[in-house]
Amino acid sequence: MPQFLNNAGQYLPILLDGVVITISLTMAALVISTLLGLVWALMRYSGIGPLVLISKTIVNTVRGIPILVQLFYIYFVLPELGIELTAFQAGAIGLGIAYSCYMAENFRAGLEAIDKGQIEAAQSIGMKWALMMRRVILPQALRTVLPPYGNTMIMLLKDTSQASVITVAELTMKGKLVASSTFDNMTVYTLVALLYLALSIPLILLAGYLERRFGTR
């Protein structure tokens, strides 16, 4: 045990560098996926033929391709088309797009759970679409969406580890580097696992807080 703590003390600063990247990557991908997901879900909910079709096509295409492959594509194929991205940017965009589809399905479930009578009531007092969404539909959808949203956030945090394959120096990547230079696999990967767990706890608390804040009533 003293040996473990001693080694851990040595590796931790390096791994914490990775934690910072993991957190940044999670945040960036979370923002991108939430905004895009909202766009897909609203397009689908609008009932306007072409928008529905575009949204469905995007969601089903992206959902059907492994995240790893999407990351490779963005990082290695796009430069051939003249779009150069740093590893971090490619990771954030790739995870953001991949997760926007899960987000969209969460949001859609929330939107479709709302009684059609709410739409009619909003229309019957003269509300236009945007106002109705903002004042009537989205606030109600928020409550149903929060639990799966929290779940998706935690999945996203863990999936940032996939960005290591395109050389983003996040936690898993750092762990791999330390492990391969020290051969102390046990200590390194135990630390990495514990750090992910520690990172997910604030997210669980945040999700719980949001549910209490918006979920009641």
């Binding site: 229309q123 019957s124 003269g126 004042r135 109600q140 409550r143």
Partner: protein, 242 residues
């Protein structure tokens, strides 16, 4: 003020409205009666464009009702609606439900809207419930909030779509009383109802619909006590002998 000319409406292969002509004058209370599936609610929903009609023309104060034009929003604030299942916004209090339209659609200052909203709730006998959420209100109270919400838009007319059908029997009276008061104050009302007592007492005119057509119409008292048409007679016999 509301004029319907030769309204046709079909859902797929089923023609639910087969050429309706009708008119509601300013200050008039018209009750629309008939069996389930006769097209009453559909007709009502065409007037504020919640449903589109396939043929014919509906005008409100001379303005054409067309779901595809932006004027539909103005028509909906001029002719508001009270629903069978209330459809209050569950995430807002009674008062917030009432002032939502005035503030966000009509652009009234919040203070003015709240003052008016509280007065309307008071008129509905719900002054004490202004800060309650719909879930904490009885069906009758919810429907009276819904009526206050419709009134808050300062409409020219209100459409009622079976406003008491979802209520427990002992709560029907309070909603009908509120509607009777409105009628007495001169509100133009078109009411789809199964409450024949209300239709007879409050209604100026009754339209009887059957199979997507208006079969009989006339002064409420006359149609309900001395119907001329066989189908009206049949319907009334079934409804009244329940």
């Amino acid at each position: 003020m509301i004029r319907l000319e030769n309204i046709h409406k079909r859902f797929g292969h089923v023609e639910v409205l087969k050429g309706i002509d009708a008119e509601v004058a300013h200050g008039e209370v018209v009750c629309l009666i008939g069996a389930s599936g006769s097209g009453k609610s559909t007709l009502l929903r065409c007037i504020n464009g919640l449903e589109s009609h396939d043929q014919g023309q509906i005008t409100v104060d001379g303005q054409k009702v067309d779901r595809k034009q932006s004027s539909i929003h103005d028509i909906r604030t001029a002719v508001t609606m009270v629903f069978q299942r209330f459809n209050l916004f569950p995430h807002r209090t009674a008062l917030e439900n009432v002032i939502e339209g005035p503030i966000y659609v009509r652009g009234e200052p919040r203070r003015e809207a709240e003052e008016h909203g509280r007065a309307l709730l008071d008129r509905m006998g719900l002054a004490a419930k202004a800060d309650s959420y719909p879930a904490a209100l009885s069906g009758g109270q919810q429907q009276r909030v819904a009526i206050a919400r419709a009134l808050a838009m300062r409409p020219k007319a209100i459409l009622f779509d079976e406003p008491t059908s979802a209520l427990d029997p002992e709560l029907v009276g309070e909603v009908l009383a509120a509607m009777r008061d409105l009628a007495n104050e001169g509100m133009t009302m078109l009411v789809v109802t199964h409450e024949m007592g209300f239709a007879r007492e409050v209604g100026d005119r009754v339209l009887f619909m059957d199979g997507g057509l208006i079969v009989e119409e006339g002064p409420a008292e006359r149609v309900l006590t001395d119907p001329q048409h066989d189908r009206t007679r049949d319907f009334l016999r079934r409804v009244l002998n329940r």
